[in-house]
């Protein structure tokens, strides 16, 4: 070895200084040190440490030449025999360097623990060796053993001195590392903790090289092992993902907190949507980064902690999406507009493309709403076949980048489909997306049905409100007419009450009626009833005949349709005004004379109940100032705080009414004052009062 030029050895020492300068973990330092020692100075080398407690640890071995890996493993397991009088045991025992210039088999036997150990030592083909204790602050902290043989070199006293210099540096490095022995233990504990942490932890050095990653990090990033992370070149991992912020903007590595703090800037936690390009798997990750500085204030590493908020975010997103969709869908009855807004909402979080398709008149699916993430137009034609199939089978469909759910109310055939697709984001749908899509679909279906129902109702309502009720009561010569009508509940819920006043041959017909039931069907019946009575009344001029006509019409229809009617034909026979009053399933009318009400009418079956019925007219003579008050059961059925309004209360209300207008005003006020809660049924009241000094009623109206 004396042939080695000094400057080579100087370079070797410089390299070792460089290695030992770093604050890398001890094991790594020793391994790199040995790389410099072997083969530059030795063919075989080992490094040992001895702790304060005297525990011997071999922390590194390196062998040059054939079969080196097996030999290195063997050496690493090897323990020196304490009582051996030479070599490493002697160096450790005496604290003095040992040089064996020419090794014999006897030397080896003295050192070897047993036959196998001897064979191992022989296999090293050692010619010379030096064993140098590592001394630091007066204590033996370890030993360096070097041997030559396979390279044909020998050691001499000069080499021993060099080994001592080398060991001095090594001792220093070990002591430095050993100084942080407590720290090292802490690091080990820390590493164990980090390994078991649910949060992903990634540590980068000042050059952005990843020096540590725990298994959670590997899982989160869709990698098999932590090695995949630590071997990656700085920044190369980023190519595996598409990363977006909460607003959907694409992020680069430089935008992430770890890079921001590495630049010396401050960075708060950042929530990102991470899509693994290869699989389309999407995760919501909260990135937090903390810089670590050395005492001089220079950045040594950046610790990133990444929390998986996918479930939380998904739940939050689902909740928000459903809440907002629900609000949109319930706030407007223009379902085309609502569905469009829901589609736009959906592409902001759940999918890249959202289409809502509704069954048209020809049973085919028509697109009524469509939205694309980022407002981009579709770049490909969709496989809407799955949407059609979802509708056909009434089953939801999930396949990778496509979800189709039928829009249906429970137990009813689908009215359309919600179609979701992923495109540019590269994401894949999973079961939880399907659950969310189903929920959305159900809300959309309800909204569409409601809107359709409402449209149907409100159309009927407005039609009926125009057609069912005379815009104003006509003037009947010799009589005063007053009326009050109030539809129940919501404006669009046309109920079953109707009233009419029209002229017939020889008189006027005044009637109120009520159709059992509510809603569109009842409204249609109301219309039928009113027009049948009007037509039949005008043609036949006889209330009973008119009722029979309506009864026949109702019997023709499907199901049981019941209508109650109170009908009065006002006539003047030789100056004697009278009303021919007929009831059909209707409570009695009131005849007021001198302000005293008396019930009038003969009870008879509902119209529509039976094929034939007997409706008996009664004649009520109307003297001047007499009144006839007709009303529907909405008046007497009005819900009060404790009971219903009732016939008796109506009778009391009318007591002392001076004229038709007074009667109607009294009933209106009494019902309003009595009612508790929303009005349940329509209310119609018509009062006909004979004017004082009135003439004949069968004259043509004036004007």
């Amino acid at each position: 070895m004396s042939a080695s030029p000094d400057n080579d050895r100087f370079a070797l020492l410089a390299s070792i200084d460089e290695v030992t300068d770093g604050t890398v973990l001890l094991g790594g330092t020793v391994a790199r040190l040995l790389e410099y020692v072997v083969p530059a100075f030795a063919d075989v080398a080992t490094v040992d440490t001895i702790s304060h407690e005297g525990v011997f640890r071999r922390i590194g071995s390196r062998v040059e030449g054939p079969g080196r890996e097996e030999l290195e493993r063997g050496l690493l397991r090897r323990r020196p025999v304490p009582e051996a009088p030479l070599g490493l045991p002697a160096a450790l025992a005496s604290g003095k360097s040992q040089l064996i210039e020419r090794i014999t088999d006897e030397d080896l036997r003295a050192i070897a623990a047993d036959e196998a150990d001897f064979e191992l030592l022989r296999a090293l083909e050692l010619r010379s060796m030096v064993d140098v204790p590592l001394l630091a602050r007066g204590r033996i902290v370890g030993a360096l053993a070097c041997g030559v043989g396979t390279s044909g070199r020998d050691y001499g006293p000069e080499d021993l001195r060099f080994a001592e210099v080398l060991s001095g540096r090594l001792a220093l490095a070990l002591d430095n590392a050993g100084l942080s022995a407590a720290v090292s233990g802490l690091e080990q504990r820390l590493e164990a903790t980090l390994t078991n942490l649910a949060e992903a932890v990634i540590v980068r050095d000042a050059n952005a090289r990843i020096v540590f990653a725990n298994p959670a990090a590997a899982r989160l990033l869709g990698l098999v092992s932590t090695e995949e992370i630590t071997v990656a070149a700085p920044g190369s991992l980023m190519a595996l993902y598409d990363v977006f912020d909460e607003q959907g903007r694409r992020l680069e590595l430089a935008d992430l907190p770890s890079a921001i703090v590495a630049r010396g800037e401050e960075a708060g936690p950042m929530l990102v949507r991470n899509v693994i390009r290869a699989t389309g798997e999407q995760r919501w990750l909260l990135h937090k980064a903390t810089p670590v500085f050395d005492p001089g204030g220079a950045l040594t590493m950046v610790v990133s902690v990444i929390e998986d908020l996918t479930e939380v975010k998904r739940a939050e997103l689902a909740q928000r999406l459903l809440a907002e969709a629900g609000q949109i869908l319930s706030s407007s009855l223009d379902y085309h507009q609502s569905l469009q807004r829901v589609a736009e909402l959906t592409v902001s979080g759940l999918a890249d493309r959202c289409q809502v398709l509704l069954r048209g008149d020809d049973d085919g699916l028509e697109e009524v709403a469509v939205a694309h993430a980022g407002g981009e137009a579709p770049t490909e034609t969709d496989d809407l076949g799955v949407a059609a199939e979802a509708v056909e089978l009434a089953e939801a469909h999930l396949a990778g980048r496509v979800i189709a759910v039928p829009l249906a109310l429970a137990g009813q055939p689908p009215i359309g489909a919600l179609f979701l697709a992923m495109a540019q984001s590269g994401r894949m749908f999973d079961e939880s997306d399907l659950v969310l899509a189903r929920e959305l679909g159900q809300r959309a279906a309800i909204a569409v049905e409601n809107a359709r129902l409402y449209t149907e109702r409100s159309q009927i309502a407005s039609t009926l409100q125009r057609s069912l009720l005379p815009p104003e009561l006509p003037a009947i010569p010799g009589f005063e007419l007053a009326g009050f009508y109030q539809a129940a509940g919501e404006q669009n819920e046309v109920g079953g009450d109707f009233y009419d006043v029209f002229e017939v041959r020889g008189g006027w017909m005044v009637l109120v009626g009520d159709v059992a039931g509510r809603g569109a069907a009842a409204a249609a019946l109301t219309s039928l009833s009113r027009y049948t009575l009007r037509t039949a009344g005008k043609l036949l001029g006889d209330p009973v005949a008119a009722l029979e006509q309506l009864n026949a019409a109702l019997r023709e229809g499907p199901g049981l349709s019941l209508v109650s009617v109170c009908c009065a034909l006002l006539r003047d026979v030789d100056g004697d005004a009278r009303a021919e009053l007929v009831l059909a399933g209707h409570p009695p009318a009131f005849h007021l004379r001198g302000g005293r009400p008396e019930p009038a009418g003969v009870f008879a079956p509902f119209l529509g109940a039976y094929e034939r019925g007997e409706w008996t007219p009664v004649t009520v003579h109307l003297e001047p100032a007499d009144q006839l008050v007709l009303y529907t059961d909405g008046v007497i059925d009005t819900v009060g705080e404790d009971e219903r309004f009732g016939e008796d209360r109506l009778l009391a209300t009318l007591q002392g009414a001076s004229c038709a207008a007074d009667s109607v005003a009294r009933v209106e006020a009494a019902v309003r004052g009595f009612a508790h809660g929303p009005q349940a049924d329509d209310i119609a009241v018509i009062a006909v009062g004979r004017l004082l000094g009135a003439g004949r009623v069968d004259r043509e109206p004036e004007g």
Partner: protein
């Protein structure tokens, strides 16, 4: 919703007959529920053993309740089973009167006859 319009229904089998006992209000808001109970009771009565609607505890009934009764009555005639009601309060009976049904002896049954004297009270 409305304060009134509460209805509870009880279904009983008495021999081959089914009895639906109503308590509360039979009106527009509850008639559907009453109809469903009647459907169920109709299935349960055997061999024309009879279907009875007990109105004794009914506080209020409007024309929608009456419509239910009339429809059931017609169905019973067509399908050959007996249907009758146990008369209710004067207010409820007033409704039958208004509908011209007060004289229909077949429509009303004496609860004592159907339930047995002990149970009828």
């Amino acid at each position: 919703m409305r304060r009134a319009g509460q209805l509870s229904l009880e279904l009983r089998r008495i021999g081959d007959a089914s009895v639906v006992s109503a308590r509360g209000d039979i009106d527009l808001s509850t008639v559907e529920k009453a109809g469903a109970a009647m459907d169920e009771a109709r299935e349960e009565q055997r061999g024309g053993g009879g279907l009875f609607l007990d109105l004794r505890e009914v506080r209020f009934m409007d024309t929608s309740g009456l419509r239910l009764v009339i429809a059931e009555r017609q169905r019973a005639d067509a399908e050959g089973y007996r249907f009758a009601v146990f008369p209710g309060s004067p207010k409820v009976q007033r409704l039958f009167e208004i509908a011209g049904l007060a004289g229909d002896a077949q429509l009303f049954a004496d609860p004592a006859t159907v339930l047995g004297v002990g149970e009828a009270g």
